[in-house]
Amino acid sequence: MKILVCIKQVPDMESRFRPDASGVWYSEIDMAFRVNEYDEFAIEEAVRLKEKLGGEPELTVLSLGPDRVVEGIKKALAMGCDRGIHVQDSSSHLKDPWQVASAIAACARGENYDLIFTGLQSQDRGSAQVGVMLAELLDYPCATTAIGFECGQGTVTVKRELEGGLRAVVRLKTPALVTCQLGLNQPRYPTLPNIMKAKKKEIRAVPVSEMLHEEPRTVMAGFYSPPKKGSGIVLEGDVPDQVDKLIGILKDKTGLLR
């Protein structure tokens, strides 16, 4: 059995985002990058499946992006993936989901992966398209928003999360692709011995130009803060003072405090 996990690196969401020189995306200056939260669930699910099947499946992790994404690949290797593919692209932030999916599909085609895991969406772009488009390009059945996953004989059963906490249970024949939602599992922290072991694992580098021959279908045209409509009071300063001010406001405005 062969499994592929696709991951992306994203900035810490608590960062201050500022436009870069192009004005259509954020500046990476002073940004700390980490593995996209949704993708950590994807890695964890794949590693659990490998463990459950007695270590038999071969687990590949793939990330498309600039050199820094190798750090994300290394984390996935330390979590338990066997080998990595780095699709080198220093301008991945300007690629649209269709192009990213096409490049990954070019890598995956002919590899006969039985299962592909991706995150439901990335925290920075939030398009929720790459996984599904990849499945369409490979002609794999695909289930999104997985919060439950079970592997059977030539099938997988996925619990999809719908609105209001309702779930839909679907079965897919493998090969299949699953996009992972928060809460699917509890992603592990890599242990030191596993980080050491991961250093010996292979990471193959592939230039994106070899994989991508598609033009973008969307053009990025601007990046900015949302218009401020919040007319609320902002309390800054030292804590005792903030506490007093807030209690004053609550007494004034809510009638809950005497």
Binding site: V169, V170, E236, L256
Partner: protein, 303 residues
């Protein structure tokens, strides 16, 4: 200009948020037709053409077949836009349709700009503008971003069909997990977000809730990490609440959380990040470390 609106049916019921599709089309000034995989007894209140595919035959959770139905409707209507909601149904189906048509998709549109569409990014902290290349364009709309418009009238039904089977087998729905606490009736809710840092800190949030005579709520990561039971979750996939006072502690204000609490009477947010999106709905934003501020507030209230 023409828009094909893809409505939704769940468990046999027409979903009302599908009317937001009309609100969006009105802003574009587009003529509309609708496609629904649903039931004859559950139709939208609108004039014009509604393509109806029978949910009995095509299933409610069978995106491959639904994709082919959409492609068939596109073939007949030649729309400029194919529009879905950015819901579990929409984000699942839209990329399949875009891939099938070999066209652009823009996800979670929040507004129409002069020369493109505005989309949220960076966990809602920022916006970006994107322009599609080519036509038609597949769009998904953020829930609640456009007004629900009920055009009224009776639709002219047209049957639509697709060949073959889908690639997914739908085994059934499962109900949401039991609620546990009924946050719907609480006057005060103090909610913990990932910003509290660790499980042990829930106690400080609970202490503030007690001091204010309220209940404890939580954002999703707090539940997923096992810091508190699922029954406390507020949001799209948790409970919808509207207390007199909502105190959001270390919660960023993701759309899925806001959806569950933005109707609260008075909203206080405690966050160390002055730019956190929760500031958009908060009546008071306290820019502070939650684990310094919350115990100090609790202590002062106890006096």
């Amino acid at each position: 200009m023409k828009a094909l609106l893809i409505a939704e049916c769940r468990d046999g019921k027409f979903l009302d948020y599908s009317y937001e599709l009309f609100g969006f089309a009105a802003q574009l000034g587009a003529d509309t037709t609708m496609l629904l995989v649903g039931k004859e007894g559950e139709l939208p209140e609108c004039g014009g053409t509604v393509y109806l595919a029978d949910a009995g035959r095509y299933g409610e959770q069978n995106p491959d077949l639904h994709k082919r139905l959409v492609l068939a409707a596109v073939e007949r209507e030649r729309p400029d836009y194919v529009v879905l909601m950015h819901s579990s149904y929409g984000w699942d189906l839209a990329p399949r349709v875009a891939a099938g048509l070999k066209v652009a998709q823009l996800s979670e549109v929040v507004s129409v700009a002069d020369d493109g569409f505005e989309l949220p990014c960076c966990s809602q902290k920022m916006r970006r503008k994107a322009k599609p290349v080519g036509s038609p364009v597949v769009l998904t709309l953020q829930l609640g971003a456009f007004p629900a418009v009920k055009p009224g009238g009776v639709p002219a039904l047209q049957r639509i069909d697709a060949e073959g089977e889908g690639k997914l087998e739908f085994l059934g729905y499962e109900p949401p997990p039991p609620k546990g606490v009924d946050l719907g009736r609480a006057e005060v809710i103090v909610s913990a977000g990932r910003g509290i840092g660790k499980k042990e800190n829930i106690e400080a949030i609970a202490a503030l809730a007690r001091a204010l005579g309220g209940e404890v709520g939580a954002s999703r990561p707090v539940v997923d990490s096992g810091w508190i039971e699922a029954g406390h979750q507020v949001g799209t996939t948790g409970q919808t609440v509207s207390p007199k006072l909502y105190v959001a502690c270390g919660i960023s204000g993701a759309i899925q959380h806001l959806a569950g609490m933005k109707k609260s009477g008075f909203i206080v947010a405690v966050n160390k990040d002055k730019e956190a999106p929760i500031g958009e709905v908060a009546d008071v934003l306290v820019v502070a470390d939650v684990m310094q501020f919350v115990p100090a507030l609790t202590a002062k209230l106890a006096k």
